[in-house]
């Protein structure tokens, strides 16, 4: 609560344009760093040559170019989009609940997506053989997305009372959903064969490894739309930080804002989780870091969290795919390893503000 509501020390905080400028630089730098890092040796100067040869349409492509265009580039884009989506969703949740502990994981969106994906892995082929044959790997993506969305609708429905959305109710329902998701996953783990168990486990740890242009383009479109819509909620959320009654007095349609925030969160987290598996911690850490540096203005927090989230995921993924090459570490492990130290360092530096 304090981080959002505190206005102490606002004078020394960085101005908005500077934070967002720094954020853009950070994203560009992490993109460059992760472009040039990977099991397949491609240096920055190779990339420059590649850029030139790309402009010549019918040139012969070297194998390095092919690897970059078909494997590394879609992966970078997916990392960028996933991080931005998760960062924005985290900021929206924390802003809406006016609670610094809020996280898309908290209202059960991630748990719903995970449970549905696990059902696709374990039961998909047995229960819906024809469907799973036609959809193939899309089956997993679609189920995860549907699972996240379904949980959001249920939670939102439960939290409605007398035309209002009760935030406390939503949190409690979210905790219940998480418990249900955990139990469901546990049961599916029991049912799963050895192979399914392995796929399930790796999926729960998250990875950008399966990035293909066709899927990445779709996810990128969804997340881009979510970011555009989410940024428009900055002003009403700023007003709501003063309390819902105050915000209503200021002319904010509180119900509408909450509804939009929930839908945007479900869409972006559902889409991201569906294509990457579970990537923890970004939605929680990114908004906090931005708030610590720049203060609680949602215009900065929302955009900044998306940028920081993207940079963190890109950097974590560069480490994940290079540290044990030619093998690869699960990304979920790395986001925590990269995110937590950054977070703790900031907490220490700005401890007066927490």
């Amino acid at each position: 609560m304090t981080a959002v509501l505190s206005h102490k020390g606002a004078a020394v905080r960085m101005p908005r344009s500077m934070v967002l400028g720094l954020g853009s630089v950070l994203v560009v730098v992490s993109l460059l760093v992760s472009s040039a890092r990977g099991a397949y040796a491609i240096s920055l100067s190779d990339l420059w040559d590649m850029l030139n040869s790309l402009l010549a349409w019918d040139a012969q492509r070297s194998s390095a170019e092919l690897v970059f265009l078909h494997i590394r580039l879609p992966r970078l884009v997916l990392g960028l989009v996933a991080g931005a989506g998760l960062g924005l969703a985290g900021a929206l949740m924390q802003g809406m609940f006016r609670n610094p502990l809020a996280d898309p994981g908290l209202i059960g969106v991630s748990a719903g997506a995970a449970l549905a994906a696990a059902m696709a892995i374990v039961l998909g082929a047995a229960w819906f053989p024809s469907l799973s044959n036609t959809l193939g790997s899309w089956m997993l993506v679609c189920s995860a997305f549907a699972g996240g969305l379904l949980v959001t609708i249920v939670i939102y429905g439960l939290a409605q009372s007398e035309g209002e959305t009760r935030v406390g109710m939503m949190l409690l329902a979210g905790i219940a959903m998480n418990a249900l998701g955990g139990a469901g996953l546990g049961y599916l783990t029991f049912l799963a064969t050895d192979e399914q168990l392995r796929s399930l486990q790796f999926w729960l740890l998250g990875s950008l490894g399966g990035a293909r242009w066709s899927a990445v383009a779709l996810i990128a479109a969804i997340v881009a739309a979510c970011i555009a819509a989410g940024l428009r909620l900055a002003r009403p959320l700023n007003a709501m930080a003063l309390g819902e009654a105050q915000a209503t007095l200021l002319g904010v349609d509180v119900e509408r804002v909450k509804r939009q925030a929930v839908v945007i969160t479900a869409l972006s987290v559902g889409a991201v989780t569906a294509s990457t598996g579970m990537i923890g911690f970004i939605g929680l850490v990114a908004p906090h870091c931005v708030r610590l540096i720049a203060g609680p203005d949602q215009r900065v927090v929302l955009a900044g969290s998306a940028m920081l989230g993207a940079a963190l995921v890109l950097l974590a993924d560069s480490v994940a795919r290079t540290i044990v090459q030619p093998a690869e570490l699960p990304l979920g492990v790395l986001t925590a390893f990269v995110g937590v130290p950054v977070f703790l360092l900031l907490l220490r530096t700005f401890k007066g503000r927490v």
Binding site: S63, L66, H70, I71, G136, S199, G209, G210, R212, A327
Partner: protein
């Protein structure tokens, strides 16, 4: 490397699409076009002998490659490739179900050899689309599986003659083993296989490698109520009434020795516990289903008779 006709046709179509189409079609078609124009695999053939460079993503496949004497072509293996010892020194591409496309391609292979449980599928697609031949082999726990493995690996490694010789040798070994098992008299022993590398011990139902192995060696699987590996309660184990417990050496080590292994409470109600009948063999040797299978079956058969 030559392309099948359909690919050639697609290439032509795609080229036209790019030539005619606007930005949209170009962005979708360009990747495939680029792939068709230049094939990284052909450029990466090992210069010395022109033989295909191989990544093996399965312990048994790696064993076949060594048995063929083709290890010079092996540029990477997965973490299940633990035998022979030399395989441990090859670059490791990770666990077979969690492969990394870039990591695999950085080894510049011509062929990726795997069993059908390798993945994730999206990564295999990526590797395929970068021009690497991906050979997937089904696993059905039969002798035919081993025969197929040798043939497919021999073809992929361009070592057909050696594969033929190896296959003849292995078939002879197998026939001898089968004869040995068929000649054994007396009632078949009820065998319970326990997989207990860590955590809850799992017992093998039908449709597992262990089940097939027990049958090959002339025993009876004490479990017939379910397929695959499942945790099992003490009561169910008592009902199964195995005469003999089969497990892996790694499992014994993980348990902290044979005495600690017998201390598991689930085992107490079994005939095997009363007589302390335990056979353990190296996990990869036992369940690998590679060229060592005839020897493994013969050893297990002997142990079933003498244990």
């Amino acid at each position: 490397m030559s392309y099948p006709l359909s690919t050639m046709q697609r290439r032509t179509v795609l080229r036209q699409a790019v030539a005619i189409g606007g930005v949209l079609s170009a962005s979708a078609a360009l990747p495939s076009l680029a792939l068709a124009q230049s094939n990284p695999a052909s450029a990466s053939r090992s210069a010395k002998n022109g033989l295909p460079r191989i990544v093996s993503v399965n312990g048994a496949i790696t064993e076949v490659i060594y048995a063929l004497g083709a290890q010079a072509q092996l540029v990477g293996t997965d973490t299940t490739s633990l035998y022979p010892e030399a395989a441990l020194a090859t670059p490791k591409v990770g666990y077979m179900r969690q492969l990394s496309a870039e990591g695999l391609l950085s080894l510049k292979p011509d062929v990726l050899l795997a069993t059908s449980d390798a993945g994730p599928p999206a990564v295999l697609d990526q590797v395929r689309s970068a021009g690497v031949k991906v050979e997937m082999m089904e696993s059905d726990h039969t002798w035919g599986e081993v025969q197929r493995l040798v043939t497919v690996v021999g073809n992929a490694a361009a070592q057909q003659a050696r594969a033929k010789a190896l296959l003849a040798d292995l078939n002879a070994q197998w026939a001898a083993t089968q004869k040995l098992v068929a000649a054994a008299r007396g009632p078949k022993r009820r065998v319970l296989f326990i997989l207990a590398h860590s955590g809850t011990p799992q017992v093998s139902g039908s449709k597992t490698g262990a089940d097939a192995l027990i049958r090959f060696a002339g025993g009876v699987n004490a479990i017939d109520g379910f397929a695959g590996y499942r945790p099992m309660t003490a009561e169910a184990m008592a009902v199964a009434a195995p005469d003999l417990i089969l497990t892996t050496t790694q499992g014994i080590t993980a348990a902290g020795g044979i005495d600690k292994f017998w201390a598991r409470p689930e085992l107490e109600l079994t005939p095997a516990y009363r007589n302390r009948v335990l056979v353990h063999m190296d996990a990869l040797e036992l369940l690998g289903f590679g060229p060592r299978l005839p020897a493994t079956v013969a050893t297990l058969h002997r142990r079933l008779l003498t244990a």
